[in-house]
Each structure stands twice: as C-alpha cells, then as structure tokens.
C-alpha cells in the first residue's frame, strides 16, 4: 500500500472542488441554521439555483458567464423570498418539511421532459460552462503541481474558490458580531422573546435566508464552472443533509465551523475511502468489492450525523461553557 499516495489523494479531496461546493453551502447554512436557527432542509435548492442559472444562461441562452453569476444571485434571492415569505411564520419542523419538499419539487421540475428545452431534462446541461472563467487562468499552460493531483484548471478553481470562501467567512464574522448578528442569535434562542423586545423577527429570518441562500448559490456556480455539467439528480435532499453533517462537525454558530467541518469531513471520508479501496485492491479485504466502498462511506456519513447530534451537538470543538449549558 502506498500511504503517500493515499495521503495526497485525501488532501486533494479535503481541499478540492467538491469540498468547496459543500463549503459554500455550509457557510450559508451556518447563517441560516447555526446563527438564526432556521431549519432549512432545502439548502440544495439554492446550490441548484446557482448551478442551473449558469447552465441555462450560458448553454441554453448562450450568454455571458458573468451575467449568469448575477442571474444566479437574483434567482437564489427570489427562491429565498418564495420559500421564506410564506413559511417563515411556521413551526420549525413544518419549515423543515416545506423546504425539503420545495427542493424536491424544483428538482422534479428541472428534470422534467416539459422543460427539457431549458433545463435539459434528466441529462441536465453539459458543455462549455465557465469558459470565460478558465480563460482568466493565470497559471502557465504547462503547469503541474509537484505533489497534489489537481489539474491546472482545477487548481485555478480551487484558488479562486478558497479565496471566496475566506471572504465569505470574513463577511459572516462581521455580520454575527454586529447588533444584526445579536438579533438573529436571539431569534435562534427564543423567537417570542425577541419579538417582545420590538424586533421584526420575520424580516431578520428572511434576510438570513436570502444571505445564506446567496452564498450557497456560489457553491452551485462553482459546481457548474468546475465540473462543466449541471445534472438534476445530483441535487437530491441528501446533499443538504451532508451539509448539515459538515456544519455540525465543525460546529454550528462558529465562524470557522464550516471550514473546519468541510476539511475534516472530506479528509475522513476520502481517507477512509482511499484506505479501504487500497485494502480491497491489494487483497487484504476479500469480503468487500470496490463498489461497496461508496455505500460504506455513505453509511458512515449517516452514522456520523447521528452520533454527532447525540453526543456532540456543539461540534467537535465544543465550547466548555456551552457544553455546561447542554448538560443542564
């Protein structure tokens, strides 16, 4: 077994394009769920909104990528308002069901034959998405990384993606230490109390949903640009739940929670997968096949989400003072 290679592959995934997509969704969810307490089970819809905006504008309408980014933000805002205005007055569990239902509803719509001309049906939209972005790649054409296995194109996406992610993290940090952040945290703790102090809770929740959705949409934009493909069935509800797992792992309502959660989540998941695959390929494990690795990874993900929620709801870097509160 080549542990060096396993480690390299694992690191590549822990900081790679897919991890970044989840990271944007998690930063957005951190505002919505972590700070404001909104049980948004339809985060994947915002990612899909971002990805499909790019796909439709660039491929279906043959317009500029830059325009599509603007459209993606407008679309995600409209989606947040459509979801939020009617539902944010509902109980938390109702909100969860409505948002997950809405995300499924949207997925079924974009994959339908009826809108195939626009959204590409079950096949989605595939082709030269993000050419304008890749044209800006400053890396020399024959560039290769010494250790990590990113292509020149992926590295460019990763550099820009992480810069944006840090920028958004800074943005969240600024938001939550302001009086605005204090109000949304209050809403998370007890909505009625905040109402009784004269705050229009509904508006704050809507703002949190819009901001979090917009950041998640960037995950979708990144997806379309990096993978050159937007497919409806990648936007299943499980995506949202993996984002929840990431957030809980890194710690909800922690500024660096999403980053820590994403890197750890993908490091563990990829590392486990690579090690197991390697064991199977080298004949150390013969009762499993290479295709089983995928299932086992997902099983562990589910188990991880359960155990985290039961034993460490405040994340793996829990605050001792908060821990004490939980014990009450």
């Amino acid at each position: 077994m080549d542990f060096g290679q396993i480690f390299t592959l694992t690191i590549t995934q822990a900081f790679g394009v897919t991890a970044l997509i989840y990271l944007f969704a998690a930063i957005g969810l951190n505002i919505q769920f972590g700070y404001t307490g909104l049980l948004n089970f339809g985060q994947v819809a915002f990612v899909a909104a971002g990805a499909y905006s790019v796909g439709v504008i660039v491929l279906t309408f043959d317009l500029s990528l830059w325009l599509s980014i603007v459209v993606a933000l407008i679309t995600s805002t409209i989606l947040a308002l459509l979801l939020g205005i009617p539902t944010l007055r509902l109980r938390a569990d109702y909100l969860a069901i409505v948002t997950i239902a809405a995300s499924e509803l949207l997925r079924l719509l974009v994959r339908s034959i009826a809108f195939k001309d626009v959204f590409g049906g079950a096949q989605g939209l595939n082709g030269k998405l993000g050419q304008e972005f890749h044209d800006l790649n400053p890396l020399p054409a024959d560039f290769t990384l010494p250790v990590l296995s990113w292509s020149r194109q992926d590295l460019w996406v990763v550099i820009v993606g992480w810069s944006l992610a840090l920028l958004f993290t800074l943005f969240v940090w600024g938001l939550v230490r302001s009086p605005w952040g204090r109000v949304v945290k209050g809403i998370r703790e007890d909505e009625d109390a905040v109402v009784s102090l004269g705050k229009n809770v509904f508006v704050y929740k809507l703002q949190a949903l819009v901001i979090g959705g917009g950041i998640a949409a960037f995950g979708g934009i990144l997806w379309a640009v990096a993978k050159q493909s937007v497919q409806p069935d990648t936007f299943q509800p499980d995506f949202t739940f993996f984002v929840f797992t990431i957030l809980l792992l890194g710690g909800a309502a922690r500024v660096f929670g999403p980053i820590a959660g994403t890197v750890i989540f993908w490091f563990l998941l990829a590392g486990f997968g690579e090690v197991l695959s390697s064991l199977i390929n080298n004949g150390y494990i013969d009762f499993l096949t290479a295709t089983d690795v995928g299932s086992i990874r997902f099983m562990l993900m589910g188990l991880g989400l359960m155990l985290l929620m039961i034993f460490r709801p405040q994340g793996i870097f829990g605050d001792r003072r908060e821990l004490a509160l939980d014990a009450r």
Binding site: P179, D192, A193, S196, Q207, L325
Partner: protein, 303 residues
Amino acid sequence: MHANTENTAPGRAAAYNALRDVAQVPGSPKPDPILIADHVSRQFGGLKAVDVAHVEIQRGSITALIGPNGAGKTTLFNLLTGFDKPDTGQWTLNTKPIAGKAPYRLARMGMVRTFQLTKALSRMTVMDNMLLGANGQSGERVFNALLPFTWKAQERANAERAMELLGRFNLDTKIDDFAGSLSGGQRKLLEMARALMVGPEIVMLDEPMAGVNPALTQSLLGHIKNIREEGTTVLFVEHDMDMVHDISDWVIVMAQGQVIAEGPPDAVMKDPQVIEAYLGSRHGSALTADGTSLTADSQGGNT
C-alpha cells in the same frame, strides 16, 4: 389599610390618590388610562377563553390581573400584546388604536411584556441579552452591520445604560456569563431588566413570581415597585392573591374569561364574588393553605 405604604414612594402615593375615587366595579373608568380595551374576546374550540367588555389601566400604577387558573389572564395578555389574534375587540395605548398590530410594533410603541416561562436567551451573554432590548439600533440593519463605525458609538451608549440597569438588578457582576447559567430568579430579573431596556411606558409581567424561591420574591417585589417609581406603568398577571396584596395599587379579577371585579387589593379580597370564583375553582384548599385571613374574610362575606 395602607399602613405598609412606604413613605418614600411618591409613585405609590400618586397612584393611590388617583385611584382613590374610582368606582370599584368591573370596567370602571380611570382618571388617566394608558390602556383601554373594549369587547376583547377569544374562543378556543367551544370555550370562550376571554370575553372582556371593557377595562382600563391607570397610568403610573401597578395593576394586578388576578384570577384562578384558566381564567383567561395569560390569553388576555397575549391578545393585548399582539401575540394572539382576538375574535373581536379594540384597544388603545395612549388613545392610539393598536388592535391587530404586530407584537414587535407594540413593543416599539412602549408596551413590553415578559413571559410566564422565562425566556432568557440561554446561549447569549447577560450583556447581549440586555443590548438586544435597546431600540432603534442602526447596527441592527443588515447593511450597516458590516460597517462598525455606523453603530459603535450607539453600542457604547446602550452598554452604559445596560450596566446601570444591571446594577439596579444586582446582575452587574454577571455581564459575561451565559444567561442560561443564571439561577431561575436571576433569569426573571434579567428578563425584567431587558424589558426596561426597551424603554417602555408600560411593562406587562406574566407571573413574575412564578418559579422564584420565596427568599427572592421580596426583592423581586421591590424591583417591581421601583419600576413604578420610575414612572413606568406595570400590569402583571398573578394567580396567587396574597402576592398582589403588598404591591398592587389596583386589582382586576378575571374568572372564566370575564372581568368580575375591580378595586384596591383589600376591597377586592373581601368581594364575595371573587372568593367564590377562587373557591369554586380551587375548592378552597390552596387558598386556606395560602392565607387563613382570607378564609376568615370569606366566611364573613358569606354571612
């Protein structure tokens, strides 16, 4: 009757004088009402939880809203503060009609409430709890939030005011503690201080004494009196008649959704109708345990 009145309490004296000549009947008009409600009703299924024809709350007084469990006190509170929607009814704050207004608007207009089950925001510090109460903060607008220079000065001023209030409520040593780590009584105090942070004209306290240990009750009562002395009107819900005796200037009694009696505490407690409402619902046991004097009064009233 008012032998226990503190001589150094001008607020109490003013309230006493203002209410001295008010008729002791349900719905009686007050000389300077801050809150006037008419025909407020709310039905749950077949049960008419609240059906109040007319009620007025005197400005600058401590008014107690009492009644046996299930009398509709909390529901009336919820209706008046906009947390529940009535089937019928109109009410005014400072003569401005406020029925149907969102609860947060009422809070901004100066009517702030607390809750029976204390709603301290557990995972926030005591100071953050307080600062949340301040109104008109520019930093609470999302566009200003990222520009600290637009709200830093205001934040400092609010923090000073919060410190002063916390000092009064003996919580100034706890500013960086999570609210969830406070004791039950301290949380009640925090909730009260936070309500005052809004700068209300009238505070509506829902069972402020519930769940507070007896040793702390006296100091809590003292704090409520102080609120009146600062010129703020207090309306509070309580089901234990003894609690209200010491601090309230006026008592409104509810039973089965209706106001059945009004008057100064001593007069109300002698009212046979009130005693019957209490005895009818509690079968007398709790009442006798709470206060033997009342039992004597009730016998006197019935003969």
